[in-house]
């Protein structure tokens, strides 16, 4: 039966299905919780693997950077100072909170440029200070300083030294560096009090820990693969990864298995060490950096000697650079002085320039404005003053437009005439015509009263022609031009072809004479009436 009811107001309080869904979800949560706990072991193993991999990678990168720096130090002839460089980097890392991965390339850039260990150390400290003050990363700052050291100061502009580009070029590197250091003074010390520095220190510690763990893992893994190199370690790491993936199926025993795995690593390492002694010490030294320190007491002497030689070479190079820079500045100054001298000579030469003298004399005379402009323009052209010459030429052209062709055009314009001037004559003509009609006497005949009417000529009523548009043209350079003959082309040549022969005047006279003589002989003499002016 239908539920017959009318609900006037209702409230949605949730469906039963929702409750069921809630219960299902909470059940799922519990299940997931259990599952999470179960797979936590697997995750732990995977995290461990990931951390191990990252550690090995960090160690490999650190090792590569150290090797690059060591090579650079070797190439500079400072192989015995390797330990000092390493110690310096380590100490700087601790005090500045900058990881050695950043310090090493910076040091390398400075060392290869300056060639001096002490100068590089000093510049690296300066670079850190400038980096802290400017916020620009240390690698960029150290590279800019290295460039500045050899005279390429373009990169120093971004540090807002307040120097112009010309000043940066003309000032020595030490002067520019002094300004930069003065502006960034205290920045490095101030940074040491910040939380950011504390975080950096933690970061350095974590990074070093990772590298240390990575080194240990590489050693251990390499030995597990019966090898000594990093590639051997990589093989073992891959095997461990496979093992961890295999462990996923047996979730519960993952951690235990991993523990056993590491125990196995330890025991294997020990076995390798115990069973296979290393007579040449290669195994332990395989991944070690060359110390560069002599085992003999004479090593210190050699190191100091090397260092002194390198310092001397660097000082020599610095002197050469300074001398070169000074020479460049001197050459630049000499060039400027020479240019000034030549300009002065040219100025003096103008005093004796006859053409100029004439022009100056002309300017002193009485000249019209147009003439004055022309002379001044000529003088400017002679002196090589292009701007003034152009300005004056423009003025002349403007004047030409207004007083030259325009004036001609205006002069050619006809006078303004009275358009009704012809009316008097025309009215007289009409009156004469009317009178002749009234009297019945045609024009030009004597009238009964004895007067003779003369027919007046019809007056010209045409308005005189004015210059048409075609007669006037405008050229931006020469101004207005007027050509009254533009609409009257030259008369066409007409060739007349005469049938017969054309004779000269003398021949014609001769022919006439012959004709008259023949006529006279045949009885028809020619008569000439000089008074009447007749010939027959």
């Amino acid at each position: 039966m239908a539920d017959l009811r009318i609900d006037l107001a209702a409230e949605f309080r949730g469906k039963k299905a929702f409750k069921e869904a809630d219960q299902a979800v909470s059940g799922l949560d519990r299940a997931v919780g259990k599952l999470g706990k179960q797979i936590a072991g697997v995750f732990a193993a995977q995290k461990l693997y990931a951390f191990g991999k990252a550690s090995v990678k960090a160690f490999a990168q650190d090792e590569a950077a150290a090797a690059r720096l060591a090579t650079a130090v070797d190439n500079l002839g400072l192989s015995f100072s390797q330990t000092r460089v390493t110690d310096f980097i380590q100490n700087l890392e601790k005090t500045s909170g900058i990881v050695d991965d950043v310090l090493r390339p910076a040091m390398q850039a400075l060392l290869t440029t300056t060639g001096s260990l002490t100068k590089s150390q000093e510049l690296l400290n300066n670079a850190i200070q400038i980096s802290r003050a400017s916020g620009i990363d240390l690698a960029t700052v150290s590279q800019d300083l290295a460039n500045g050291y050899v005279g390429i100061t373009r990169g120093l502009k971004k540090y807002n030294t307040g120097l112009t580009q010309a000043e940066l070029k003309s000032k020595s590197f030490n002067e520019v560096l002094g300004i930069m250091l003065a502006k960034s003074a205290g920045a490095a010390d101030a940074y040491l009090t910040t939380t950011s520095y504390k975080m950096d220190v933690l970061n350095v510690a974590a990074d070093n820990a990772k590298e240390t763990i990575g080194k240990g893992l590489v050693d251990a893994f390499a030995k597990m693969s019966n090898g000594t190199t990093a590639s051997d370690a990589a093989k073992t790491i891959d095997n461990i990864a496979k093992a961890i993936n295999g462990i996923t199926s047996a979730v519960g025993g993952a951690i235990g298995a991993l523990t056993r795995l590491y125990q196995k690593i330890d025991s294997t390492t020990k076995k390798i060490h115990d069973n296979y002694p290393d007579p040449f010490g290669l195994r332990d030294n395989a991944n070690k950096m060359p110390a560069g320190r002599s085992s003999s007491p004479a090593g210190t002497y050699a190191r100091i000697k090397q260092q002194k030689e390198a310092e001397a070479a660097a000082a020599k190079r610095a002197k050469e650079l300074a001398a070169l820079q000074a020479k460049q500045v001197k050459a630049s100054k000499a060039l400027t002085a020479e240019q000034k001298k030549q300009a002065a000579l040219k100025k003096a030469g103008t005093v004796f320039d006859l053409e100029q003298i004439q022009l100056v004399a002309a300017l002193k005379g009485k000249l019209s404005e147009d003439e004055k402009l022309r002379v001044e323009a000529q003088l400017a052209l002679l002196n090589g003053n292009v701007e003034l010459a152009k300005k004056l030429t423009d003025q002349i052209l403007a004047a030409q437009d207004s007083s030259g062709n325009l004036a001609k055009f205006l002069a050619a314009l006809p006078d303004a005439r009275n358009p009704f001037q012809y009316l008097d004559a025309y009215l007289s003509y009409l009156a004469g015509k009317a009178a002749s009609i009234a009297t019945g006497t045609p024009f030009g005949q004597a009238q009964p009263n004895g007067n003779t009417q003369v027919s007046p000529t019809i007056p010209d009523t045409n308005v005189p022609s004015y210059p048409s548009d075609n007669m006037i043209t405008y050229n931006p350079k020469t101004g207005l031009n007027y050509n009254p003959n533009v609409n009257n082309p030259p008369p066409a040549v007409i060739n007349v072809t005469v049938q017969g022969s054309v004779i000269k005047e003398q021949e014609l006279i001769a022919q006439i004479q012959n004709g008259t003589q023949l006529a006279s002989l045949s009885g028809s003499p020619s008569q000439i009436g000089r008074i009447a002016g007749m010939f027959g």
Binding site: A2, D7, L8, A9, A10, E11, K15
Partner: protein, 174 residues
């Protein structure tokens, strides 16, 4: 269609615990809006004399004996409720309702509203089917509700809001 309100059930429960007097007042006020509709609906229930004789409870046989018509029972079956109902399958709880509970009353209410007034039964019932949609059409309560033109519904909602504002003011005083 019922007006949807949120928090009304909680309010009524809170009133019942904190302010029983106000709760009773609210119920009374809601009832005062429902009563006229119920009264009107009961008025549309025909008397025993007006109904088909074979359907009367006294004469009904077989299947019809269970749903035999008695005007008194049918009138009594038309009631109202001013307290929240249980949550239905759609998740709604009614705050105020009008019912037609008796079987005979329900038959009288709905006969012919779907198939039309055809055959020997529904055309002879009399009355008038009124209502908005098919499910809200009928001869008694739906007709009365339709003719009420929403006054009862407005009254119920206003009564609930009034109770809420009173409860809020009391809460602030505390």
């Amino acid at each position: 269609m019922p007006v949807k309100l949120q928090g009304a059930v909680a309010l009524r429960k809170a009133l019942a615990v904190v302010e029983p007097t106000l709760a009773k007042e609210t119920s009374k006020e809601i009832s005062s809006f429902l009563k006229p509709v119920v009264k009107q609906a009961r008025g549309y229930i025909p008397s025993n004399e007006q109904i088909i004789s074979g359907w009367l409870i006294a004469n009904a046989r077989g299947t019809w004996a269970r749903v035999g018509y008695d005007a008194a029972v049918a009138r009594k079956g038309i009631t109202y409720k001013s307290t929240p109902s249980r949550v239905n399958r759609q998740g709604f709880s009614a705050l105020a309702s009008i019912f037609n509970k008796s079987a005979a009353g329900a038959i009288y209410e709905t006969a012919g509203r779907k198939s039309g007034l055809t055959g020997n039964f529904s055309p002879r019932l009399g009355g008038e089917i009124k209502g908005d949609k098919q499910k809200m059409q009928g001869r008694a309560i739906f007709r009365a509700f339709e003719e009420d033109r929403g006054k009862a519904q407005d009254g119920v909602v206003k009564a609930i809001f009034k109770a809420k504002s009173k409860f809020d003011s009391m809460k602030d005083k505390v």
